[in-house]
C-alpha cells in the first residue's frame, strides 16, 4: 500500500540523492511505444478519457516496492491500467483474464 501519510511523496524527489547519472541508453521496444501511444491517444482526444494528471497520480500512488523496482514504461502501464479500471473503462476481472490468457499463450 502507498503511505499516504508520508510527508514527502515517493516521486517528489527534487533535492534527494539518487546516485550518479548513468550514461546508459536503451533502445525503446515496441511494447513501450505502444504504452506511450495508448497514453497519448487517451489523453489527447477532445473527450479526454484520462488526463496526464490522473496517469501521474496513478504512478505516485503505487506501492513503494513497485515504484522503486520497476522501469519507466512498466510504471506507466501499471498506472494506466489501474486508472482505466478505476474509471470503469475496463473491468478488473476482464483485464486480469486477458493477461492470464496472454501469459498462457506466450
Amino acid at each position: 500500500m502507498p503511505d499516504y501519510d508520508n510527508i514527502r511523496q515517493q516521486h517528489d524527489m527534487g533535492g534527494l540523492d539518487k546516485g550518479p547519472v548513468a550514461p546508459s541508453e536503451h533502445e525503446i521496444v515496441l511494447w513501450e511505444k505502444q504504452v506511450e501511444a495508448i497514453m497519448r491517444l487517451l489523453s489527447m482526444r477532445e473527450d479526454q478519457i484520462v488526463t496526464v494528471d490522473e496517469l501521474r497520480r496513478g504512478i505516485e500512488e503505487m506501492p513503494p516496492e513497485l515504484y522503486d523496482t520497476i522501469g519507466y514504461y512498466e510504471r506507466w502501464i501499471v498506472s494506466l491500467s489501474n486508472i482505466l479500471v478505476e474509471k470503469g473503462v475496463l473491468g478488473r476481472a476482464e483485464l486480469d483474464a486477458r493477461v492470464r490468457e496472454l501469459e498462457a499463450g506466450a
Binding site: 511523496q9 527534487g14 488526463t51 494528471d53
Partner: protein
C-alpha cells in the same frame, strides 16, 4: 455562459513565498516538496490553467488558476548549496500555493533571510 475573468493576484517582480503546507492523504501535488516555504520573485505570469490537483481525481471542469514562473536563489533554497551564489531555479507554481512574501503564513522556514 462565460467564465468570470481570471485576475492574477501577483505580477512580475512580486516577492512571493511558497506555502509551507505539507498535506497528507491521497493527493496529487505539483509544488515540489523542496520549494515549500521558500521565497522567490515572480518572473512572469504564465496564464491560467485548471488545477492538476483536481484533474488528477477526475474533476475536469474546475476553475482555472493563475500559474506563475517564480525564480528562487539556489543559496536560499539549499543550506548547503555549493555553486555560484548567483545561481537560480525557476519553477512554475499555481496561485493557490503562493503568498505575498512576509505575509501571515510565512515563517515556517528559519533559513529565509528576506
Amino acid at each position: 455562459m462565460s467564465a468570470p475573468p481570471i485576475r492574477p493576484r501577483f505580477g512580475p517582480g512580486d516577492a512571493v513565498t511558497v506555502s509551507a503546507r505539507f498535506p497528507t492523504g491521497r493527493r496529487h501535488l505539483r509544488t515540489p516538496f523542496y520549494i515549500r516555504g521558500k521565497t522567490g520573485e515572480v518572473e512572469r505570469v504564465c496564464g491560467a490553467y485548471r488545477n492538476p490537483e483536481e484533474l488528477a481525481f477526475g474533476a475536469y471542469d474546475g476553475a482555472r488558476l493563475p500559474l506563475y514562473r517564480v525564480r528562487f536563489d539556489q543559496a536560499h533554497v539549499w543550506d548547503d548549496y555549493a555553486g555560484n551564489p548567483a545561481d537560480t531555479i525557476d519553477i512554475e507554481i499555481y496561485e493557490t500555493w503562493l503568498e505575498p512574501a512576509g505575509g501571515p503564513t510565512h515563517g515556517g522556514d528559519d533559513s529565509d533571510a528576506a
